[in-house]
Structure formats: structure tokens, C-alpha cells
């Protein structure tokens, strides 16, 4: 009977620049004991400068490498058919002044946005009306309503995003984390198709 080898490509791996990628870096393997060690060390790809940030390694490349070395293997592929290899250059650190700048940008921007919103929907007038409705008196600045309102505003956003600083209310991911995951998924999908030279064929009419 033929020996079966099971291969499952990892979704995404990070490697250092100029590293040699072996099979065990980019895939999970189940194989008979006599092959296993050699298989894991099998050289697949050399990362070069030209690769820039990402390389997509298709499973066809791996099958090719395997059949060149051992003929007559039964290769079973499970799961994704390619791996995205992300080449990590020197970790880009966000400089502190730049970070402060972004922080202030978001801070002032959202402050301005909420003021515009209040003006837009005549919130001041509504608050005066609510004050009159509850107490029967008119005041021009119903601060007893407006200060709790302002605090509640922040509280509502925190509840929605499921964060109180680093503490969370429960184990479920927040909508924002799901949103970021989806966005990353879309980016990966794009990379899989566009970085993989074999995935697209253009008409060569030049």
C-alpha cells in the first residue's frame, strides 16, 4: 500500500528576512515515521529582497517539490491551498510624538464631531424642554441634565465596544475586533490572488 502524507497549509506565517522556508514552517504534516523528519526539513523557498512584504506559496509548489524527491507518494491536502508568508523587516515602531499627534487628532476630531451633532439636532433646545417637562421651570443651561448626559455618552461608547480600558465585560469579541478581522481577511484574500503569479493569467497581446 502507498504511504499517505497529509498536508495542511497554515493560513499565515511570519518569517525574518532572508530566511529559508522549510515545509514545517508553512504546513502541518502527518506522515509515516520514516519520512517525517526529512519532510519537515524539506527546503521550499528562499526569501529574497525582491519579495518585499509578502510571498504566497501555493500548494502546487509543495507537491512539485515532494514528487521530485519521492515518486509515488499519496499526498492528501486538507484545508487552505496556499500560505501567506509575511516577511518581517525591522519592527516598525510608532514614534511617540507621532502617536501623540494621532491621539490628539482623534480626540479633537471627535470633540468637534459631537459639538456639530448637538448643534445639528438642536440638542440644547431639547434639553431645555426636558428640564421644563420634569420640573416645570425654564432654565437656559440645564447642566444637571447635561453633565450626566456627557458622562453617559462616553459610557455608551465603551459599552458598545466592550472595553473598560483593558478589562472586558465578557469573552465575546467586540464588534470592532470582528470588523478588523473581516478587513484583514479581505486583505489576505486580495494578496492570495494578486501575489500568486500562477493564480491569474493575462492575455499577452503586447
Amino acid at each position: 500500500m502507498e504511504d499517505s502524507i497529509y498536508i495542511r497549509m497554515r493560513n499565515k506565517v511570519e518569517v525574518n528576512q532572508n530566511s529559508k522556508i522549510t515545509l514545517s514552517d508553512i504546513a502541518q504534516i502527518i506522515a509515516p515515521e520514516k519520512y517525517l523528519h526529512q519532510l519537515k526539513q524539506l527546503f521550499i523557498y528562499q526569501v529574497t529582497k525582491e519579495d518585499k512584504n509578502t510571498v504566497v506559496i501555493d500548494v502546487m509548489k509543495i507537491i512539485d517539490a515532494l514528487t521530485q524527491k519521492w515518486s509515488g507518494l499519496d499526498i492528501q491536502l486538507i484545508g487552505p491551498s496556499q500560505t501567506i508568508v509575511e516577511v518581517i523587516y525591522k519592527k516598525r515602531k510608532v514614534s511617540f510624538p507621532f502617536f501623540i499627534l494621532i491621539w490628539l487628532l482623534l480626540f479633537i476630531g471627535s470633540a468637534l464631531a459631537i459639538m456639530n451633532f448637538h448643534e445639528d439636532v438642536s440638542m440644547q433646545e431639547v434639553h431645555q424642554k426636558i428640564y421644563k417637562m420634569i420640573t416645570g421651570e425654564s432654565v437656559s443651561k440645564p447642566l444637571i441634565l447635561q453633565i450626566p448626559y456627557s458622562i453617559g455618552l462616553g459610557l455608551g461608547m465603551i459599552i458598545f465596544f466592550n472595553h473598560i480600558f483593558k478589562k472586558r465585560f465578557n469573552e465575546e469579541p467586540s464588534p470592532l475586533e470582528v470588523e478588523i478581522f473581516n478587513y484583514q481577511q479581505d486583505l489576505d484574500q486580495y494578496v492570495i490572488v494578486n501575489e500568486n503569479k500562477e493564480a491569474i493569467r493575462h492575455l499577452d497581446d503586447h
Binding site: 516598525r92 494621532i102 482623534l106 479633537i108 443651561k141 450626566p148 461608547m157
Partner: protein, 140 residues
Amino acid sequence: MIINTIILVFIGFAGGLIVGCGFVAFLTVLGIVPRLTQLTKTHQKIYQYEWSIVLGTIFGNWVSLQDTTFYLSPIFLIPIGLFCGVFVGMLAAALTEVVNVIPILTKRIGVDGHLIVALMAIVFGKVCGSLFHWIYFVDR
């Protein structure tokens, strides 16, 4: 005369129907109710939450059109203000999320690890902007 009344009733009813639909559609798109039920794990109570929104809308509608007055102490305004704020805050957060700003922002400027800090900037910005508006800006 009768015909005028009938036309007015019809116009009022039609307008209310459309505004009501729009309001519910807006809340549904933003997904605030599912979010709250998810946090409190009360999925089986969603029917009551619907009624709460409908009755709240009708109540707000009635008191704002009739100039009803309750003659209560101003202390009651503190929880009312807080609840109003939480609701508007959730609206604002949901809107930011719908337009997909933050995922792109974190990717572009590379603040992946500092997402919470960036979020806090937005939250504090809202609170400070709101306080500034009510305490100082309205007098100018």
C-alpha cells in the same frame, strides 16, 4: 369640512408610518439592540425590547407635542441625562463602526497594539467636547 379632516388624518397617519419605519430601520442597521442582548445574554427577551422602543417612541412623541409637565424635583434629571447619554454614545460608536474607519486607520498608521488607546481618545474626545459645549460654548 369632514373631507378636510379625513385628508389630514390620512396625511398624519401616512407620515407617522414612514417615519416610524425609518426609525426602526435606522436602529436595526446600527445593531444596538442585538449588541445589548449579546452583552447581557438576554436573547429570549428581544420581543419585550421591541415593545420598549415602540412605547418609548410614542411616549416621547406625545410629551413633546403636548408640552406635558410633571413638576418633579430636578434630581430626576440626573438618571434621565445619563440614559440619554448612554444611548447617544452607543449610536455614535455604532456609526463609527458602520463606516469602517477604525480598521483602516489602525492598519495605515500602524497602531495595531494601541487600539484601546486610540479608542479612548475618541471616547474622551466625545465626553470633553460635550462638556465644553454645554458649559462654555453655548454662552458664546
